[in-house]
């Protein structure tokens, strides 16, 4: 056995200013600088140790860049200590903290190093990596621990040492085949619940009794494998109990009087699926059945779209949580046999400027959460070669303890290429990454002697993703699909093999051998293998005759493949370990045994607010004039430019991004939606648009209004870039608090009712959706948040539209009437006013969107932008900014009942409105196409560098393009 420690240091001695700055924000001002060194540890199990020459070659080829780095090889490494001082003898101001991944956490660099070493002829090498931070400053041990914990290391996936860290190689414990019989016989309700709690099963009393009854009947005790399988299959995450439950719902007036009482037979069925069935669009290929929704794209191809959330993992380990969130939703696309072509992301964070002393214990600072989440999304999407093209970032105090990370993915599949029926005798094949204890009952995995810190967190341990393994899966599955090598496919997501095999074998039954599952390290018990949520795995049903062809493809794409068993045909689930059955039950009990829960819910309508805008303004302090308000809105973090985030995502890869996140001559104006042209379809002009609608601020005022407004926003954004309003499909994603509280569930019911009404009004189907419940921190729920994502067909990629103003002299039209709808608006938030009427569902919205689409197809519209947060004022400012052109408008021209105050036309957030820029020669034709719609000419594009507002020709205020740019872009403006 020989050991090496290799330290690779950048030659330039500049420290990392971001770490120093972050330390100062933590209140540790004595940190002067921080330098990073990469550490590589090698241990060789071969009899002959690698020669010094071999180690030098390893450094030259794989570890050291001779232009920028230098390396030091230390063998044998010095003993480890917990002394942080570089030279213990002097009272040096230089300290060392070393950080390494916990055992079991994916260390891609170490694996690549081991394989690279083998290519250089150095075999049996095991590698581990770490980072060494050299900190300069007068720092106490307490300071160092704090810096390590709050800045340099995340306890969920990493460990640290003050001074040299001990490398841990991928050794596991001995193989364990231990299976426990868990007797439930004779337990009373309390004891059953205690059993559920102790084993982290999350089953309620009714469910535990159902299981107890079943095993009483067959006359034996369940095994731990069986209990875990039932708990997983019946979990909220997998079966969506809340959305299927029967709900006794009471709608109350603001005064508390019951307005209506009724029974809802499942939210999903009554509102979401019901809307899809009611609108009955012929181009929907699959809704709510598969892992993703599918619509028709062209004669040859269909499009699949799915949006998932990864909130809790991202709260604990932002990078890994978001990273695996993208990985998971992309696998949902692979699981409908589609080739992924794009990603989306919508993020909700706490305030970035929160003073550290106000941060509640037990959570990461929102700035750290954002930094990690953004890096995690970029890392995974960029490495998969998928453009991340659409999204939003919302900031609100309500997300402090529980950020939201919505990850979306779109895929393209040839028509009829997705098989969904496994056949009797098909082999159960697992492809992709190896299985470890990832995501099993959290951090209990780390053994006590490895760390001095105690893990206090329960819940799933978070992994870091391995996008390159997933990239291999994408290529392999596409080739296997084209070769028609499988009869069914699904991903291993939550619940791991248990969920994948249990669902796929629901009708046929499955017989599976766990000892054949490739493991990252030995020592997993059968139930751990069965339930592991290790990333980057797919399960396929493969006819035996196709196995060798699939193996050839797997070899080519360097993806690990293993045959685990067969779909038996007897309707039973049989899980074996070394031939011995460790779980044996009929699929019918697993899938149909869950008692349908009943819940109660109520919703109290928001109190009407009779205070007029005038009185609110009279009360407001400080007094802000129109211009100051507009500047505040433009620099509000939710509205302001997200360029700093979005530019870290590759939005160009695959060469099909036609409308990008940023538009205009400076490529920095906000786009309403993205338009994409998939590789392989350049033979015709069809493309597709992706957009989103989300407004939790409005939800705080009125849930129903939030739902209808989110649908309108997603819809009008898609129309703005050229999507056909008769070919737009919707996705619903709910993030909510604990639904066992009747008030929270009631708000969810009311939101679903809004979803139904809006979808029917727009004639748009929901094709997929997901709910993430129990988003609470310390008993405080997040603001109930609905994300509506839209995918729409763009019939002609040459007839798309962008939001920036194009040419002086063009006319500016406002489509849609403006009402006094300031409830839940950005203006309300700035004024500290939680009143006012919220925006409602527009009358006949489809008629106006169809007309806009027709005008766009006729080439009559030069630019188009939707009105959302901040209303007309913000929307027009954004158009000026994107085009670096001025405009002169008269708000009195806008359609609406006599505006009692100029803030109404300026800042009201009425739905269904678009701004259109039209060239003078096209004016008549446009007015013809939009005749009998509420449309008004409100002004024109000007050469001046001012956006000039007037009311009845009396100037109100002017704002320069420069002021708009600097408010909206903030520090990013250069």
């Amino acid at each position: 056995m020989s050991n090496f420690r290799i330290e690779v240091t950048k030659q330039s001695e500049e420290g990392d200013p971001r770490i120093a700055a972050a330390a100062h924000r933590l209140g540790i001002s004595s940190l002067r600088s921080c330098n990073k060194t990469q550490l590589f540890f090698l241990t060789c199990r071969a009899a002959a140790a690698p020669s010094p020459d071999q180690i030098n070659r390893l450094c030259d080829f794989l570890l050291v860049d001779p232009v920028t780095e230098s390396a030091q090889v230390i063998s044998p490494p010095r003993p480890c200590s917990d002394d942080s001082r570089i030279q213990p003898s002097n009272a040096s101001n230089e300290h060392v903290v070393e950080v390494a991944l916990r055992p079991g956490v994916t260390d891609v660099a170490a694996r690549v190093l081991e394989r690279g070493a083998a290519e250089l002829g150095i075999h049996d090498l095991e590698a581990a990596t770490a980072t060494r931070y050299r900190l300069t400053g007068d720092l106490s041990r307490t300071d160092l621990h704090r810096l390590a914990r709050d800045l340099l290391c995340n306890d969920t996936i990493e460990r640290y040492s003050l001074g040299a860290i001990e490398p841990l190689f991928g050794h596991g414990s001995d193989a364990r085949d231990y299976v426990e019989q868990v007797s439930l016989a004779g337990l009373n309700e309390e004891e059953l619940l205690a059993c559920s709690r102790e084993r982290l099963l999350s089953l309620d009393a009714e469910e535990m009794k159902e299981i107890q009854g079943f095993y009483d009947e067959i006359g034996r005790a369940p095994t731990d494998v069986e209990l875990e399988t039932l708990a997983q299959t019946w979990s909220e995450h997998c079966v969506h109990k809340t959305f299927k439950s029967n709900i006794a719902f009471t709608l109350r007036s603001a005064g508390g009087q019951a307005l209506s009482v009724g029974e809802i037979q499942g939210l999903l069925r009554s509102y979401i699926q019901a809307a899809t069935e009611k609108v009955n669009r012929s181009w929907v290929r699959s809704a709510f059945v598969d892992d993703a929704g599918i619509i028709e794209f062209d004669d040859q191809y269909d499009l699949a779209f799915k949006v998932e959330t990864h909130n809790h993992p991202s709260a604990l380990e932002p990078f890994g949580g978001a990273n695996t969130g993208i990985g998971g939703v992309v696998r949902d696309i692979i699981a409908v046999s589609a080739r992924p072509v794009a990603c989306t992301d919508v993020l909700c964070f706490g305030p970035q400027e929160l003073p550290p002393e106000e941060l509640p214990a037990g959570i990461l600072h929102p700035a750290r959460v954002q930094e990690g989440v953004v890096a995690g999304i970029g890392d995974y999407g960029n490495k998969l070669g998928l453009p991340t093209v659409n999204g939003a970032v919302i900031y609100d105090d309500g997300y402090l303890g529980n950020p939201l990370v919505f990850c979306g993915a779109v895929g393209l599949l040839p028509k009829g290429s997705h098989p969904t029926e496994p056949r009797q005798g098909d082999r159960i094949v697992v492809l992709g990454g190896r299985t470890g204890r990832d995501g099993i009952h959290g951090a209990t995995f780390s053994s006590a002697e490895l760390t001095q810190e105690t893990h206090t967190k329960s819940g799933s341990a978070v992994q870091i993703g391995d996008p390159i393994t997933e990239k291999g899966l994408i290529e392999l599955v596409e080739a296997a699909r084209d070769g028609r090598l499988y009869n069914a496919i699904t991903d291993c997501g939550a619940g791991g093999l248990s969920s994948a095999v249990g669902e796929m074998g629901e009708k046929l039954g499955a017989d599976i051998e766990l000892q054949d599952v490739p493991l990252k390290y030995p020592g997993l018990t059968p139930w751990e293998i069965w339930l592991s949520e290790a990333q980057e795995r797919m399960v396929l049903a493969v006819p035996p005759a196709n196995l060798s062809r699939l193996q050839d493809l797997a070899d080519l794409w360097e993806v690990e493949m293993r045959d685990l068993g067969r779909f038996s045909g007897d309707g039973w689930l049989r899980v074996r370990y070394g031939g011995r059955a460790v779980a044996e039950m009929p699929m019918s009990f697993l899938h149909d045994g869950l008692p349908i829960p009943s819940r109660t819910a109520f919703y109290e309508e928001p109190a009407p607010d009779h205070s007029s805008l005038q009185t609110v303004l009279a009360r407001a302090r400080p007094k802000l004039k129109e211009k100051a308000l507009l500047l505040q809105m433009l620099s509000h973090p939710t509205v302001a430019s997200k360029e700093r985030i979005v530019r870290t995502y590759d939005h160009e890869v695959r060469g099909g991004t036609l409308v990008r996140p940023f538009v205009g001559p400076h490529m920095d104006g906000p786009a309403d939606a993205a338009v994409l042209k998939p590789v392989g379809t350049w033979g015709h002009g069809r493309a597709f648009a992706l957009s989103a609608g989300i407004n939790p601020l409005l939800g705080k005022r009125d849930c129903y209004a939030m739902a209808v407004s989110a649908v309108d926003e997603a819809f009008r954004n898609a129309v703005s870039v050229g999507a056909d309003p008769d070919q737009i499909a919707l996705l619903d994603n709910f993030c909510w608090g604990n639904p066992t509280f009747p008030d929270r569930l009631g708000a969810l019911v009311r939101t679903c009712q809004g979803c139904y009404d809006a979808a029917v009004r727009y004639n748009a189907p929901y094709i997929s959706g997901k709910d993430s419940l129990y988003n609470e921190f310390e008993g405080q729920p997040i603001p109930g948040t609905l994300l509506i994502s839209a995918i729409g067909i763009v019939p002609d990629m040459r007839r798309t539209c962008t939001s920036h103003l194009k040419r002086p002299g063009n006319f500016i039209f406002l489509l849609g009437e403006t009402r006094e709808e300031l409830g839940g608006s950005l203006l309300g938030q700035l004024l500290g006013w939680n009143g006012g009427d919220p925006p409602s569902l527009p009358e006949e919205p489809l008629k106006r969107y169809r007309a806009v689409h027709a005008a766009m197809q006729a080439g009559l519209i030069q630019s188009c932008h939707d009105l959302s947060e901040g209303g007309l004022a913000v929307a027009l400012a954004e158009m000026c900014l994107g085009g670096r052109l001025g405009a002169a408008v008269d708000i009195a021209a806008a359609i609406g009942s006599s505006f009692s105050h100029p803030y109404i036309p300026l800042f009201s957030e009425t739905n269904g409105r678009l701004l259109l820029e039209v060239a003078p020669p096209d004016r008549a034709a446009l007015e013809e196409v939009l005749s009998d719609l509420p449309i008004a000419l409100i002004g024109e594009v000007t050469e001046s560098e001012q956006l000039a507002w007037a009311r009845n020709r009396q100037p109100i205020f002017n704002i320069s393009i420069e002021e708009i740019v600097s408010a909206w872009k903030g520090a990013e403006a250069e």
Binding site: L63, V108, V112, T648, R654, V663
Partner: protein, 262 residues
């Protein structure tokens, strides 16, 4: 017959489909070939008239961009690749492909034409962007007049195309190295503004902090060219975010493919 072009796919390559489309539009016959198919001898370098190393994250770039793929080239294809380059066939490395050629010592290459510089004695590199983050944005690129890559002379106007990378900062070990690159005509592309004037290190015109605004280089024989930006993402005017019809990256592919015929 159209020129057969080898588009090399290593585990983690992802801009191969666009590179193939660009070659096709430029009149060649692209073949995306996995490195394992070349290792097994199912396909050979010598079957092709041009080689493209496309963008992506080969092996996840886990040990630095292109490092592990460079090792592959060294261990498995040393002779075949040296022959390919020495016969003067065009080789284009884009983004991760460029990083790979540099880390493998094939760009700018040794003083003797077609030769390879020892990996340990490389004096140029592509390192982390000056802003230390991945960045995606469109840039203008000017062909360096007098570059050894003679085929580029026909590219008259600046190429407009996106960068999308975290490690595209071109650096040299010392000023002498830079002087030699310039004097020997090994600088092929520089970042410029929309009028073709040097970026002079100004962000975001020069998006990554590259020394002397260098976006791409070539070898002494002029047949091996590497650059960070993605001309394959601008092969149709509809992809141009400014919509002005200028700066097609397709012209680079046309020029290189034409040079293979000569």
């Amino acid at each position: 017959m159209n020129l057969p072009v080898l588009i090399l796919h290593a585990t983690g390559t992802n801009r191969d489909a666009e590179a193939a489309r660009a070659c096709e539009l430029a009149g060649a016959s692209p073949h995306i070939v996995h490195v394992n198919q070349l290792r097994e001898g199912i396909r050979r370098f010598s079957d092709f008239g041009m080689l493209v190393l496309p963008g992506g994250f080969s092996y996840g770039d886990a040990l630095g961009a292109g490092v592990r793929q460079a090792l592959d080239l060294h261990v498995f294809f040393h002779e075949e690749l040296t022959d390919f380059i020495q016969t003067g066939k065009p080789v284009l490395g884009i983004c991760n492909g460029f990083q790979t050629l540099v880390k493998a010592g094939l760009l700018p290459g040794a003083a003797d034409d077609g030769g390879r510089r020892s990996v340990a004695r490389r004096d140029v590199t592509l390192t982390h962007n000056a802003r230390d983050r991945f960045e995606c944005r469109w840039v203008h690129l000017a062909v360096e007049q007098g570059a050894r890559a003679g085929c580029l002379a026909q590219l008259r106007e600046p190429v407009f195309c996106p960068v999308a990378h975290g490690e595209g900062n071109f650096q040299v070990s010392d000023n002498e190295t830079l002087g030699r690159l310039e004097k020997d005509g090994l600088v092929a592309f520089r970042y410029v503004d929309s009028n073709g004037a040097r970026a002079d290190g100004r962000y975001p015109l020069n998006p990554n902090g590259s020394v002397a605004d260098i976006a791409g280089i070539c070898n002494r024989a002029g047949n091996v060219i590497g650059l960070m930006p993605h001309p394959e993402d601008h092969v149709d005017p509809i992809q141009n975010p400014l919509g002005d019809g200028k700066g097609l990256g397709l012209s680079l592919f046309r020029a290189m493919i034409a040079s293979a015929g000569r």
